[in-house]
Symmetry: C2
Subunit: 265 residues, 2 copies
DNA sequence: TATGTCATTTTATCAGACAATTGACAACAA
DNA sequence: TTGTTGTCAATTGTCTGATAAAATGACATA
């Protein structure tokens, strides 16, 4: 598993986190150890710029000729990048008028990539609250469904993940992966494709943010007991307790995230 | 408002519903009164084919040269279409290996376009159940939040929409629009951007399906009383009742959808 | 005032070339 | 045998430059 280095969800290296913001018209995204394809890297860059507000909704981008040549990139690669952003609802193109940023309401902010870009831009507190409020709605419900529908295989997978988490902690890549594995197994147990899509999008984005978390300060709290409690409730098929324990878990995660982002002191 | 005819979410005309399925390698999408851009139409076509299972996950599509020339389309337009699908997690390209359909688990099925494509393919009962199960989780929660946070302006907008619904019914475009307006106002009242994104994606797709619904058989049930009950609870700031009424509303919508799709007799 | 025509701007599409990546396999070495 | 290295070929990726089509806004006309 562990994601082929080569897919549309480009694996960002840590270098990127240290990249200087040189404004919307630089070409640094090119020299930054050009990971992945040009169109993907460019979509990423413009997407993040839009999320940062460098281009406001309603604003039209420079036209293809100007923009692509100012970025020293071919029109085709540029257009493919724009196509990606349009597919995520962030821009809209039409002849004569040009390509303009759509109103924020229409952005697919639950798209995994958009969500990841969001967390790269140090999103506002209100957005983080919205996201966790949504998690607070869906995750406990998912846990409740999992408690009803889980099989022994699901329990086994969750248990395995918890063991790895316990010995690796979230400071290691393996530990974070185990955390994801736990949630994946839980979502799989809930047996709802739509819920799974939503949950894995958000989960991945939040997990991504924990990398910054860990960088900022080592977490003092041990995450295993909360997870274990959820596991036990699901193992007992205790629907209400599963719901409740998961709610507690998400609330703790929220606090950790707020703390790491300086919202709580 | 009412969506410019000219955006990446191409407005499909009714003609399309009558288009014959001529298999994956035809070029009919071109002559079908070519609505919108070629890349969008092609992404639509291939996307729907993937959802229908014409291309299975893991399968690699014909290479760019072959595929684009068999469709009598330029490579650039073809590539832009593929870029769109990749942005939605449905395919993955790499040199030498080609472009292959990704595993279903990675598709962004909550993307508004993907969802719309899904409903065009007469999705399976299990998918519809998953989707309504998710609505059953999120919509009552949204109604509860709306009951806490609504302003008089929200109430006014909802009331206006209900009046239009009452006099137009869901058989007219204006009536369906009023239905959407009601839910938009409700979601706006809930004041959660992430929840709004999710809810409007699903809501739009389901509303889209009601067009087929109406075509199949006129709905006997009057939808206004259920909506009115939700409205009143929100107006009273009665959180629990708002949640409960919305749950009832979604359950009724589920029954209608099942009925129209022949799942219930 | 309303309507139709037309020029202009911009994206959309096309064609064809070359570059870069990578998977497969052969050749070779330890 | 086993692992390493190198070569080849297939495919996507990128570039260039040209032409088509769409939509806006100005302008003429009724």
């Amino acid at each position: 598993m562990a994601g082929s280095e080569y897919d549309s969800f480009e694996d960002d290296t840590d270098e990127e986190a240290y990249a200087l913001d040189t404004g919307p018209l630089d070409t640094s995204f090119r020299s930054q150890i050009p990971q992945g394809r040009l169109h993907g890297a460019l979509a990423h860059k413009i997407g993040v710029d839009i999320l940062k507000g460098a281009y406001a909704p309603g604003e039209t981008l420079p036209n293809e000729i100007q923009f692509s040549s100012s970025l020293e990139i071919s029109r085709s690669a540029f257009r493919e990048a724009i196509r990606i952003l349009a597919a995520k609802g962030m821009v809209e193109s039409r002849p004569k008028t040009g390509t303009r940023v759509t109103e924020r309401k229409r952005w697919n902010i639950l798209d995994p990539e958009v969500l990841k870009w969001m967390f790269e831009t140090e999103p506002g507190e209100d957005f983080i609250m919205d996201l966790f409020e949504l998690r607070l709605i869906t995750e406990p419900a998912a846990a409740a469904l999992a408690a009803q529908r889980r099989t022994d295989a699901h329990l086994k997978a969750m248990d395995r993940a918890l063991i790895v988490m316990a010995e690796q902690t979230l400071a290691t890549e393996a530990g974070r992966q185990a955390d994801l594995d736990f949630h994946d197994a839980l979502i799989d147990a809930a047996n709802n494709e739509a819920l799974a899509s939503l949950s894995s999008s958000i989960g991945a984005a939040v997990a991504w943010s924990t990398r910054y978390k860990q960088r900022a300060r080592a977490l003092d709290r041990d995450p295993v007991p909360d997870h274990r409690a959820v596991y036990e409730a699901i193992a007992r098929s205790d629907v209400n307790d599963a719901r409740w324990c998961m709610e507690a878990l998400v609330r703790l995660a929220l606090r950790d995230t707020q703390r790491s982002m300086g919202i709580l002191k």
